[in-house]
């Protein structure tokens, strides 16, 4: 059989149901023509893709965690000298002390990697891919091919982010939020030169990956539920992953647009974010009329839903694990669902609370104060419902619990 035919065959045959029917000992089965490449690398099986996300996420978690060890060491012992740091980091740790630019670069990369690559891709990518088809009774994702692409875009984004650590002028060092003008002006900080270009490319590819994944999750949950699995019978984990995907699909493109404007400001002389700037050693820039605050609005329009992209899957899984382990149905399923919805909806209306000190119009600020505190109500409902789920149960302390 030709390679192409094998792939087509794979799409049709290689599904969850197939696996379940034959168990693990069907490797010799005549229908299977998985090569190592199609089974483990360019796999379209949702479970394998979930594992790929998990492993990549774990690698990033370890790398990002080690970065924080390095910069916290410097923070905790500012006057101490660690010769091994110099042998590890070379010119970034002259005399055994991490230089300011390396410190900021580590903080920035640590933040970006953990928020996006570990807590978004690692968490949603792993659990959404693994659990959605299994818990709704589908054979696989709506588009296994798109699912595979989603992982590989993430992988390429990872490689580019990693390679930005090794350029001459250093990785981007302006914080994970990458506020312009600092991120727009290579003259303002060496990290904003090549390092920032690579950072933007990596983030753009990451956004593509998360959109491909998110669309797939939504399509699968809406269309591929098994007979009798109505929306109100869905496990809360799936609901949480659904809302997470919706948040991602609606908010990541806004960040992407912000990044594109940033690319224009960096490379093509536009003034979206730049105005009235005099850079030491360079002089006054020609840009006038831009607003540095515009980027912050675009960034936090993703940035705040991002908080819930990270939190909602955990909330969903806690609901499920608690109810199963205490041998009780979840208390107030509809209230849990309603509060998930409320959190997801409010997540889009609170972004400016990250910008209270940017000179925001005080009235606008007051609206965001109100909406921000409102979000505590559905969160409180969830906590009380979890407690009631435990109440008078019969709790088994499984590893998940």
């Amino acid at each position: 059989m030709s390679n192409e035919a094998a792939i087509i065959e794979d799409v049709h045959v290689h599904g969850a149901a197939h696996h379940e029917a034959h168990g693990h000992d069907d490797h010799g089965h005549h229908e299977h023509h998985d090569t190592f490449l199609t089974k483990y690398v360019f796999s379209q099986d949702h479970k394998m893709i979930a594992k790929q996300f998990l492993i990549t996420g774990m690698v990033w978690a370890v790398l990002g965690g080690l970065m924080s060890v390095l910069f916290r060491l410097q923070l905790g012992y500012p006057d101490a000298s660690f010769p091994w740091l110099e042998s590890l980091l070379g010119k970034w740790a002259k005399g055994g002390q991490i230089t300011p630019e390396a410190y900021y670069a580590l903080v920035t990369t640590h933040g970006t990697v953990l928020v996006f690559f570990v807590l978004t891709a690692g968490l949603s990518g792993t659990f959404a891919n693994f659990l959605i088809p299994l818990q709704i009774g589908a054979r696989d994702m709506a588009s296994p091919f798109m699912n595979m692409l989603s992982y590989w875009f993430f992988f390429v984004a990872s490689i580019i982010m990693l390679s930005s650590m090794f350029v001459e002028t250093g990785p981007f060092s302006g914080g994970w939020t990458a506020y312009p003008p600092l991120s727009a002006l290579g003259d303002a900080s060496p990290g904003s030169k090549t390092g920032m270009d690579l950072w933007i490319i990596a983030m753009a590819l990451f956004i593509v990956s998360s959109l491909l994944g998110g669309l797939n999750y939504i399509a699968t949950i809406l269309n591929m539920r098994t007979k009798g699995m109505s929306m109100t019978r869905l496990p809360l984990t799936i609901w949480a992953l659904f809302f997470t995907a919706v948040l991602g699909v609606l908010s990541f493109p806004v960040l992407l647009s912000g990044m594109i404007l940033l690319i224009f400001d960096r490379n093509f002389g536009t003034s979206f974010y730049l105005s009235d700037i005099f850079v030491n050693g360079v002089g006054a820039l020609p840009n006038e009329g831009g607003s540095a605050i515009l980027y912050q609005h675009l960034f936090w329009f993703l940035g705040h839903p991002e908080v819930y992209i990270i939190l909602l899957p955990a909330m969903g899984m806690v609901s499920e694990i608690m109810s199963v382990s205490s041998r009780k149905p979840i208390f107030g399923y509809m209230a849990m669902l309603g509060s998930l919805f409320a959190i997801a909806a409010l997540a889009f209306l609170v972004w400016a609370h990250h910008m209270f000190v940017t000179g925001l119009n005080p009235f606008l600020g007051s609206v965001f104060v109100l909406l921000t505190l409102l979000i505590a109500v559905p969160s409180a409902i969830k906590v009380f419902n979890w407690l009631t789920t435990l109440w008078r149960g019969n709790i088994r302390f499984t590893p998940g619990m």
Partner: protein, 353 residues
């Protein structure tokens, strides 16, 4: 050395835990799965209470040792700061009560309702009444916090009293520039393309008559105890942030978009030196927004003084216009012959700033 030792100890602890886990796994195989599962369940249930107690002890100990290092341990040095502290305390107390109640319930339920063959699970899937109660209670509590917070918010962001003095603060990589309006109490125009780091660090438009008495200083800002100060904040290059931790306020410095903030200092720097027992005490302006490689070193000082001291200091200041154009200085005209010496004093004045 102690660092390597502690790393070694942590590694050892991990190995010990790993070995214990391995040993207990073998024991459970010997005992039979069901028996050892039930036993483990009991241990885990008891551990819940242990964790709760350890957690609360930990909170108490941390509080005992670290509270004095937090900002809250020191009295706020402005009227606004008092309100901020008040708000933090109210919020901490309310959320603290909720925290304790929910944590105690969580761990207590986990312990009390651990698996027991003789108990039947109480089927309880829904109760509108209960759910309404715990929607309403947080909603009411939050209303209190919102009303309290918004009142302060509008006070902070509102207009300062009429008698407020005005200082313009400009951030740059990596330092602070302050501009006082001079005798006319009005700032002259500025335009960023006029910036000359040597004599015109904020880009004052010299043709503007109002600008000719403006005073520029760097790094240290003088303000008067008890008099409201309104800061007009801007930046020359990237986004900075005027962080006044002792006054409990901060505001971004954004290039091209002026922002404002006002506060009323309560104690002079001298009084704070006595209060804190620290002879080197200084009100610090820290840059609170990542602004480049020198971000850590971007500090300024607020010198809070009495009105007399302020007037004396102000009398010594020279308008920047006269620094930039020494030949226009009227005090120089009669002494035209000794122009060289006045020129050098002008230079030292710049250096001092």
């Amino acid at each position: 050395m102690s660092l390597y030792l502690s790393i070694a100890i942590i590694a050892l602890i991990f190995i010990v835990i790993f070995q214990i886990a391995k040993a207990s796994e073998y024991v459970s195989v010997l005992k039979g799965e069901e028996v050892s599962r039930k036993q483990n369940n009991k241990i885990n249930g008891a551990l819940m209470i242990v964790f709760m107690v350890l957690g609360f002890v930990g909170i108490y100990v941390c509080n005992e040792y670290l509270f004095s290092k937090t900002l809250l341990a020191q009295e706020a040095a402005s009227i606004q700061g008092e309100k901020v502290d008040q708000m933090i305390w109210v919020t901490l107390i309310i959320t603290g009560i909720v925290f304790v109640i929910t944590q105690v319930l969580l761990f207590w339920f986990a312990y009390k309702y651990q698996e027991n063959d003789n108990r039947k699970v109480f089927f309880f899937a829904h109760s509108t009444k209960l759910e309404l109660i715990w929607t309403a209670i947080p909603a009411i509590t939050l209303t209190v916090l919102v009303v309290f917070g918004l009142r302060n918010w509008f006070f902070f962001t509102g207009e300062p009293p009429k008698n407020a003095m005005v200082v313009e603060v400009t951030g740059k990589q990596f330092g602070w520039i302050f501009r006082y309006p001079g005798k006319d109490a009005v700032f002259g125009k500025k335009y960023y393309k006029n910036i000359d780091p040597a004599v015109n660090s904020v880009g004052i438009v010299w043709d503007d008559k109002l600008a000719q008495d403006d005073i520029l200083t760097e790094q240290t800002m003088y303000v008067v105890k008890g008099t409201p100060v309104k800061l007009i904040i801007g930046s020359r290059d990237v986004i900075h942030d005027v962080g006044l931790s002792h006054f409990r306020l901060k505001m971004d410095a954004v290039p091209g978009i002026p922002t404002t903030m006002w506060f009323t200092p309560k104690f002079t720097t001298k009084e704070m030196k006595e209060k804190t027992g620290n002879p080197n005490f200084a009100y610090e302006i820290s840059c609170d927004q990542m602004c480049g490689n020198g971000h850590y070193s971007m500090k300024g000082i607020v010198e809070v003084v009495t009105q007399e001291e302020y007037d004396m200091w102000m009398a010594k200041q020279k308008a920047q216009y006269l620094v930039a154009f020494p030949e226009k200085d009227p005090s120089n005209v009669p002494a035209a012959a000794t122009a060289k010496t006045t020129d050098s004093t002008a230079k030292t004045a710049v250096a001092k700033m």
